[in-house]
């Protein structure tokens, strides 16, 4: 027995086994203790509450919802709002971050200083404060609905949000939307083909201009093919508020602005670090073969810089998803606000609701990092 313990390999396995057993026993104890205590205190358990009627309204829902729907539906409304805000902010902050990151390294003194001032200011103010600033200071000072700021008689801006005309979902609208998607898919393959041709023959094909041209022409053709019948629902003042059209609420706008402006600073820094990590010799080589500054950036520097910038950017995307839960401070109805907040308080089953919410964030975050790791893998320099 003791001889066996002196064997380093056996001992290693033994201690690992003991640790695992200890851990499992501990978790099992916590689990049963919790269940026991909850039952003793007469608190309802299980997921049965999800099929109960919610009884409360939600102000901004991407899917059909009213107070007669179930808590299960509330969960999905919250989840969709979390996903929507995350996708929009990821998209906007990537563009803004890329632009600012490049501008910060500009040779123009003013542009470079402005960019770095922007980064230093917004990166160093807590995000919650920025959300509250946009919500309680900027958007709240807009005029009341009856004194809305008006654009072209059909777009209205006031302290209850931005109201824009919304096209009815008829065959023309759908046709045009499908055609836009089609153009993007086509442009993707066109780009692939052009790259291949460029590598084989050296001939350039203007993918960008062709794409932009198609983006204008194709939807117009689609518009006439599918009946030429755009029908907008326009916002108009009725009673206290505007009705009709599409509304972007202040909660949504404040969250989008704050998260985009905040996260873009970090992405800009990631881009800058990527660019600065590209060897100076690369830029000099690009210049020596006669590439312009823009060409050098686009063809030589950025493709290498982006590879370096991707891992820190992934972290920022994950932060966006998680930071979106700060919306609870201003009442944007994302998952934490309506499910881990309102629903939790109506139902009172903290353990079930909080674990569901945590699981959702875990799954979203793992999915985002899986996708971006895959992109990272694809863009890695292929060493041969």
């Amino acid at each position: 027995m003791f001889a066996l313990l002196r064997d380093r390999k056996v001992r290693g396995i033994l201690f690992q086994l003991l640790t695992v057993i200890g851990l499992v026993a501990f978790l099992w104890y916590i689990g049963t203790n919790t269940v026991h205590n909850i039952e003793q205190r007469g608190i309802r358990t299980g997921f049965g509450f999800l099929t109960g009627t919610s009884g409360f309204a939600i102000n901004d829902s991407p899917i059909a919802y009213n107070e007669t729907y179930t808590y299960w539906r509330v969960f999905f409304v919250g989840l969709l709002n979390t996903i929507i805000i995350s996708v929009i902010v990821i998209f906007l902050s990537s563009i803004l971050g890329l632009i600012v990151g490049v501008l910060r390294l500009s040779n123009n003194w003013l542009v470079a200083k402005l960019s770095s001032a922007y980064i230093d200011i917004f990166r160093n103010i807590p995000i919650l404060l920025q959300i509250l600033f946009w919500y309680n200071v900027v958007l709240a000072t807009l005029p009341s609905p009856r004194k809305s700021i008006e654009f072209f008689g059909s777009i209205f801006l006031n302290n209850r949000g931005i109201y824009v005309p919304k096209p009815d979902m008829n065959s023309t609208t759908i046709g045009v939307m499908v055609s836009v998607v089609f153009v993007f898919v086509f442009a993707f393959f066109l780009n692939k083909w052009a790259n291949k041709k460029h590598e084989e023959t050296g001939a350039e094909f203007p993918v960008l201009y062709t794409g932009l041209g198609l983006l204008v022409v194709v939807p117009i053709i689609a518009y006439f093919i599918f009946g030429a019948n755009f029908n907008f629902s326009y916002p108009h003042l009725r009673g206290f508020n505007f009705t009709g059209g599409k509304t972007f609420y202040p909660e949504f706008l404040a969250l989008t602005f704050a998260l985009t402006i905040y996260t873009a600073t970090f992405i800009a820094e990631a881009v800058r670090s990527g660019i600065e990590a590209v060897n100076k010799g690369q830029k000099e080589a690009a210049a020596s073969i006669g590439l312009s500054g823009y060409q050098a950036l686009k063809l030589v520097v950025l493709p290498q810089a982006i590879r370096i910038a991707i891992p820190p950017t992934i972290n920022q995307y994950l932060n966006i998803v998680k930071n979106s839960s700060l919306a609870t401070a201003i009442g944007y109805p994302e998952l934490v606000t309506v499910f881990a907040g309102t629903t939790l308080n109506q139902v009172g089953q903290a353990i079930e609701i909080i674990s569901m919410t945590m699981l959702v964030y875990l799954v979203i975050s793992l999915a985002v990092s899986a996708i971006l790791n895959w992109i990272n893998f694809k863009m890695k320099i292929k060493e041969r």
Binding site: N33, I38, G42, F56, N59, E67, R160, N345
Partner: protein
């Protein structure tokens, strides 16, 4: 090596069994041994729970905490207050962070039956109303079709609001915040036309506005909101203590005992007064606390009527009338079970 593992595992088992005993504690002896009452309150609602510049809490909900502290510990100041928002309150009570929740909480069937809670009485009979800007020109809640309504999320208020508009075939835009401060801000900046809440809260929110005269409470009351102190289910002894501490305040008003005359009342010949004050009988001892618990409450905190007038009634900025909260003998609903 082996003995070391044995030691560790013994320590671990000891620690685990210790934590198991904490989970099934009895609240009275915990409170006595720690020397203070853990009470959950609203973070700021004038009349119900608000702190002055020195950090002293006062309000009708605070009085319940003070009364229980006076009854159990003999000193109304031995309370540790925990400010909670609407979302946090039940979890705080369930998990044992607080032992008494006195935070304008509506007694409903769901809360009583599925949250593991017990309501120990009703210290304020309330109903839900609406606060509007006068400039809106609205005189009745039925005219609110299409309005944007600010509400504190996760409350019964939010549910009643949905019911009321559905019942009357009206539409509204919900603006739900998780704190009353943000609700107030939303109303002041014009994010919403209306605040809906328990009408007592509307009065206290109104005096927090920059221009209270520019707003008014509509006459409509759309729900029943019995607000009361809450304890955890499963500790009947503690439940009884809280229930009777509150009842003592009402019984004192019924019997005409006030904080001013309580000492002279000790010599009263009235058997009811004698029993309430613990001069006769063993009512306090039956509860497991001091014999003179009601005396301590009345002496230190006051009877229900005194507390009401001081915190939310005519002696306060809120100036709420007794209404439903008058004694049953005066057309109200406040009624104490007999002290005998």
């Amino acid at each position: 090596m082996k003995s070391k593992i044995a030691k560790i595992s013994i320590a671990a088992i000891a620690a685990l069994s210790l934590s198991a005993s904490v989970a099934s504690a009895d609240t009275l002896s915990d409170t006595l041994s720690q020397g203070y009452l853990k009470c959950g309150i609203n973070s700021g609602l004038p009349g119900f729970a608000s702190a002055d510049s020195q950090g002293h809490w006062s309000g009708i909900d605070i009085s319940v905490c003070r009364a229980v502290a006076a009854a159990v510990l003999g000193d109304k100041t031995k309370v540790k207050f925990t400010s909670l928002n609407a979302k946090e309150r039940f979890t705080a009570l369930q998990s044992g962070e607080i032992d008494l929740l006195s935070r304008n909480t509506t007694w409903t069937e769901t809360r009583d039956s599925s949250l593991g809670l017990n309501f120990a009485g009703v210290n304020f009979y309330d109903g839900q109303g609406f606060l509007v800007h006068k400039s809106l020109g609205v005189k009745n809640a039925k005219e609110l079709d299409g309005a944007a309504v600010c509400v504190q999320s996760g409350t019964t208020t939010e549910l009643n609001l949905a019911d009321y508009f559905r019942k009357n075939g009206m539409k509204y835009k919900l603006v739900a915040y998780d704190s009353n401060d943000q609700v107030l801000k939303g109303f002041e900046t014009g994010r919403c036309d209306v605040i809906t809440s328990d009408s007592s809260q509307l009065y206290s929110l109104r005096i927090k506005l920059k221009n209270p005269a520019g707003s008014m409470v509509l006459p409509n009351i759309i729900s029943k909101e019995p607000l009361g102190p809450v304890v955890r289910q499963g500790d009947d002894k503690w439940f009884n203590i809280v229930k009777w501490s509150y009842a003592a305040m009402v019984a004192a008003e019924e019997a005409g005992i006030t904080s001013k005359n309580v000492d002279s009342m000790l010599k009263s010949n009235n058997p009811t007064v004698k029993r309430i004050l613990g001069v006769e009988g063993k009512l306090g001892e039956n509860l497991g606390i001091r014999k003179d618990f009601a005396y301590q409450i009345i002496k230190q905190v006051g009877n229900y009527g005194e507390v009401f007038e001081r915190t939310v009634g005519m002696g306060s900025p809120l100036k709420i009338k007794r209404g439903l909260n008058a004694l049953w003998t005066k057309g109200g609903l406040q009624y104490s079970p007999p002290f005998r």
